[in-house]
């Protein structure tokens, strides 16, 4: 117990008599799994990386260079969701300490980040009076939100809010498809992938070019990524042109096929029951082929093929017959690809990406329903990411307790959060800030140059 904990009343949790969950935890340090304002207060007090968030959101405008825009950070909207669902929008702060103090004081259950506006959001009403509509978003990161519930029709291991390692593959696939496209196709460099805390991932594209995109341009990027169109009512939801695929889809297909055949087939047991294989047969618009397959598989029930191989085998049958060219009527040309796309291609929430004024949860928040931290994900090692091993609020507090007395700074470094914060800084924040500073310098110098030349005559 630290002095501080006794003073602010958070020492209470340590007296709890709950059963320790594993032998190594001593009762002194055990923290019951829970999410509440007291825990959060400690989290915001010691662990949440306020300074890093500030540095990020300043994009180099920290006042150290004459070219800095000192109003920049203050024009960013934050929103806080408090206990009992009180929602505070248009929060803005003109310094790091103001942001930090407000979070520590209000202890929001969720912090969202909105756009940078033309003027300080807190003063928006004053500007609305003038009628020129000068209160408007001017910058916002390009963001993507991928949620597991959008895949409920193609995952059998879990449904709804649940997530396990088997279906998490779908998120891995999403990152492996979208991330290279953002870098190679669109030329973006400063990309942050974040675990959403429960069942999905968020992507923040922070290049200056991305932040200045209009709604129409954001929309076009989202559409570029969209393949799945439809709802419960439409029959075929992925419809690829029969002739050939766009290079982006071709490249993505390599990833999809690898995971579909190497992972999803077996982990989701896509062909193991009649109900499941019928779902796939529905996607084949040729009666003679589907009856042939059906016949084959109904017979197979009696044979002794092991459960693991049944999915792989049946998929082999499907591929063979569709690619055989025996009957090649219209509509079968890309059927195999359509099936693979349906089961694995990323499903983005279009609305999140299209609008500049969309508010998205800040990284390093804690998800109220799971207690897990929204930690960054390394896209280069996303296959290793395990959502079930992400640090929880209670675990972190335990780790703080175990640490005993120490300096106030860098307490996070001695917890499981340390790895995440270090990764955030080294692979995202530092390169981003370096690039921002260069840009500020260059544009400042360009302005100087311009005013010099325009004064010379």
């Amino acid at each position: 117990m630290t002095k501080e904990e006794i003073e602010n009343g958070t020492a209470d949790m340590e007296i709890d008599q709950r059963e320790p969950l594993n032998g190594e935890r001593s009762e002194l340090n055990a923290v019951p799994d829970d999410f509440n304002a007291n825990y959060l207060k400690v989290y915001y007090g010691k662990l949440f990386p306020h300074a890093d968030i500030f540095k990020w959101m300043s994009y180099g405008n920290d006042g150290k260079h004459p070219g800095c825009d000192e109003s920049y950070f203050g024009r960013r909207e934050f929103s806080f969701t408090l206990d009992n669902d009180i929602y505070l929008r248009f929060q803005s702060f003109n310094s790091a300490s103001k942001l930090e103090n407000s979070i520590k004081e209000k202890c929001p259950f969720k912090v969202d980040i909105g756009p940078v506006y033309s003027v300080d959001p807190a003063k928006r009403h004053a500007y609305a009076q003038s009628g020129n509509n000068v209160f408007t978003p001017v910058e916002k990161e390009l963001v993507f939100d991928i949620d597991m519930t959008d895949y409920d029709d193609v995952r059998y291991c879990c449904s709804g809010a649940d997530v396990c390692l088997k279906c998490w593959t779908l998120m891995t696939i999403a990152i492996k498809v979208i991330d290279p496209a953002l870098r190679d196709d669109f030329g973006f460099n400063h990309i942050l992938w974040v675990y959403s805390g429960r069942r999905g991932v968020h992507c923040w594209v922070c290049d200056a070019k991305a932040r200045r995109l209009t709604n129409e341009q954001r929309s076009s990027i989202a559409e570029y990524f969209r393949v799945y169109k439809g709802n419960e009512n439409s029959q075929k939801k992925v419809s690829l042109i029969s002739s050939a695929l766009h290079p982006f889809l071709l490249r993505s297909y390599k990833v999809l096929e690898e995971f579909f055949e190497g992972n999803l087939l077996s982990n989701q047991s896509l062909f193991s029951t009649e109900e499941r294989y019928e779902k796939i047969l529905e996607m084949i618009p040729d009666e003679s082929i589907t009856s042939e397959l059906r016949g084959k598989w109904q017979d197979n029930k009696k044979s002794s093929i092991s459960k693991e191989n049944i999915n792989v085998d049946r998929w082999k049958h499907v591929k063979k017959i569709l690619k055989s060219g025996k009957q090649k009527p219209q509509g079968l040309g890309k059927c195999v690809e359509e099936i693979v796309f349906s089961f694995s291609y990323p499903r983005l929430d279009m609305e999140v990406s299209k609008h500049m004024n969309h508010l998205l949860k800040a990284p390093f928040c804690i998800h109220p329903k799971t207690g897990r931290v929204c930690v960054p994900i390394d896209p280069n090692r996303c296959e290793e990411f395990d959502p079930t091993a992400v640090p929880t609020l209670s675990k972190l507090l335990e780790e703080i307790n175990m640490g005993g007395l120490g300096t106030d700074d860098d307490e996070w470094d001695r917890t499981s959060l340390g790895k995440s914060i270090r990764f955030f800084r080294s692979s995202f924040l530092q390169p981003l800030l370096k690039s921002c500073k260069e840009e500020i310098e260059n544009s400042y110098n360009a302005k100087l140059q311009h005013s010099k030349t325009s004064l010379t005559w």
Partner: protein, 450 residues
């Protein structure tokens, strides 16, 4: 632009690219006579384009038509004056067509089409110069660049079924500037740049042209109403106002019995009271002096229903067809079936004119003009046809909305209402009903104004 009396001074023009962009009225001097004449020549070109579109001509045909119209009307004896004529005529028509929303819409549409067709005929260097004018500083991708993305370009072309031609020019454009192409995955993108093919660029340029002109027309209208119209009331204003109404055609003002029509009135009646399907057939017949079987049946029976007597019908069809096939062949091959329609041959059944339902479910093929335009025309051609009938922007959108929802008869009803300015509660379900309702409305209007 300065309008002067009869003297002419030689004028110095700055170098302009081959296609003028009409950004601002240049400092030219124009004779009063030329003011009107140039405008009328250009109007013939625009009207020709409008006609071509409403008759359903395809892109390639339209391109050639526009070229032909331009060469036929916009020439000038003095080669150096050709560009002046182009610019002057455009600006004069701007005055004429900025004055109401319908006029602006029509002018914007036809000028943009004209621009697009002319752009397609330009040499690549000229096209690039034009792109630069619109702040579309697209750089043509170098051969080295193309080599490195060749595979991707091929795949993209294949993805919309058009194999890559050998020497297609590609432009390297920041992807932000071509959102529609990105959204549709119709371009290859690499490191933030989209590789846009020449024909895709032309569309972009035309879109820019249109948006500039649209804003300019609003400004012109303001200037016209606030200063020019009054200032010029003795000189230019009467010319401007006359140019506009002479295009729309004469008023129909004679009271008629609707039970019978005679062939001398048929052109006016077609314009005022025929539903779009019959109007289209009629105009095609006038233009081509021929109609295929489906069209002859649909129009012929309609005319019978409208009150055209057999003798008049024979004379009417003969007058048209003999220009194409000669009167002997008409008598031999076509007169019989007209008499047949009127029940004077064969079974002697008096055939009834087709209802909307029958017309909508017909299947016009190549070279046919029958059927229901609301069903069978492309959106572009239908819009042009409706515009030609005088529908406002708002009305066209309402009609198109019905069409999209496949309510073709409702679309025709809305057209009727827009054209006649009255409501048609019963709805149109027969072309002859359209005609008789129309005649009723017109008759009552004329009676009340007498």
């Amino acid at each position: 632009m300065e309008i002067i009396g009869s003297q002419r001074k030689p004028v110095h023009i700055d170098v302009v690219p081959t296609l003028p962009l009409y950004r601002s009225a240049p400092p030219l001097e124009v004779r009063l006579e030329d003011f009107e004449l140039y405008a009328m020549d250009r109007l013939r070109v625009l009207k020709g384009i409008a006609d071509g579109l409403s008759r359903g001509k395809k892109s390639e045909e339209m391109k050639n038509l526009a070229d032909h119209l331009w060469k036929a009307n916009m020439r000038h004896l003095d080669a150096s004056e050709v560009v002046n004529k182009d610019i002057i005529s455009h600006f004069v028509l701007r005055l004429v067509y900025s004055r109401t929303e319908d006029l602006r819409k029509w002018f914007l549409s036809m000028e943009t089409n004209l621009f697009r067709y002319r752009l397609l005929f330009e040499r690549p260097e000229a096209q690039r110069a034009l792109m630069a004018e619109f702040d579309l500083p697209y750089r043509a991708a170098s051969n080295a660049e193309l080599e490195s993305v060749k595979e991707g370009l091929k795949q993209v072309a294949q993805s919309f079924g058009q194999p890559l031609a050998a020497d297609v020019i590609f432009y390297k454009v920041p992807f932000e500037e071509v959102p529609e192409l990105v959204a549709g995955r119709r371009v290859f993108i690499h490191k933030g740049y989209a590789y846009v093919a020449m024909n895709q660029v032309v569309s972009l340029v035309a879109t820019q042209f249109r948006s500039h002109l649209s804003k300019a027309l609003i400004l012109t209208n303001r200037k016209w109403t606030s200063t020019i119209r009054e200032q010029e009331k003795d000189r230019l204003t009467p010319i401007v106002e006359a140019l506009c109404s002479s295009y729309l055609g004469p008023d129909y003002s004679q009271p008629r019995e609707f039970a019978e029509i005679s062939i001398k009135d048929i052109d006016q009646i077609a314009k005022s009271s025929f539903p779009l399907c019959m109007r289209h057939l009629f105009e095609k017949l006038r233009e081509d002096h021929h109609l295929k079987h489906g069209g002859r049946m649909q129009l012929g029976l309609f005319l019978k229903g409208v009150g055209l007597k057999l003798e008049d019908a024979l004379a009417f069809w003969k007058a048209e067809f003999s220009q194409r096939v000669g009167s002997e062949r008409f008598d031999k091959e076509y007169a019989y079936s007209i008499r047949h329609n009127y029940g004077r041959e064969g079974k002697r059944t008096d055939y009834t004119p087709y209802s909307c339902q029958k017309i909508i479910t017909s299947a016009p093929g190549v070279g046919d003009h029958h059927g229901c335009p609301y069903r069978h025309f492309s959106e572009e051609n239908l819009r042009a046809a409706l515009g030609k009938m005088g529908l406002s922007n708002r009305a066209v959108e309402d009609v198109m909305d019905k069409v999209r929802n496949r309510h073709y008869q409702l679309a025709c009803t809305l057209t009727f209402e827009a054209v006649h300015g009255t409501s048609c509660d019963a709805g149109i379900n027969h072309p002859n009903q359209y005609f008789s309702d129309s005649q009723k409305v017109l008759q009552s209007k004329n009676q009340s104004t007498v």
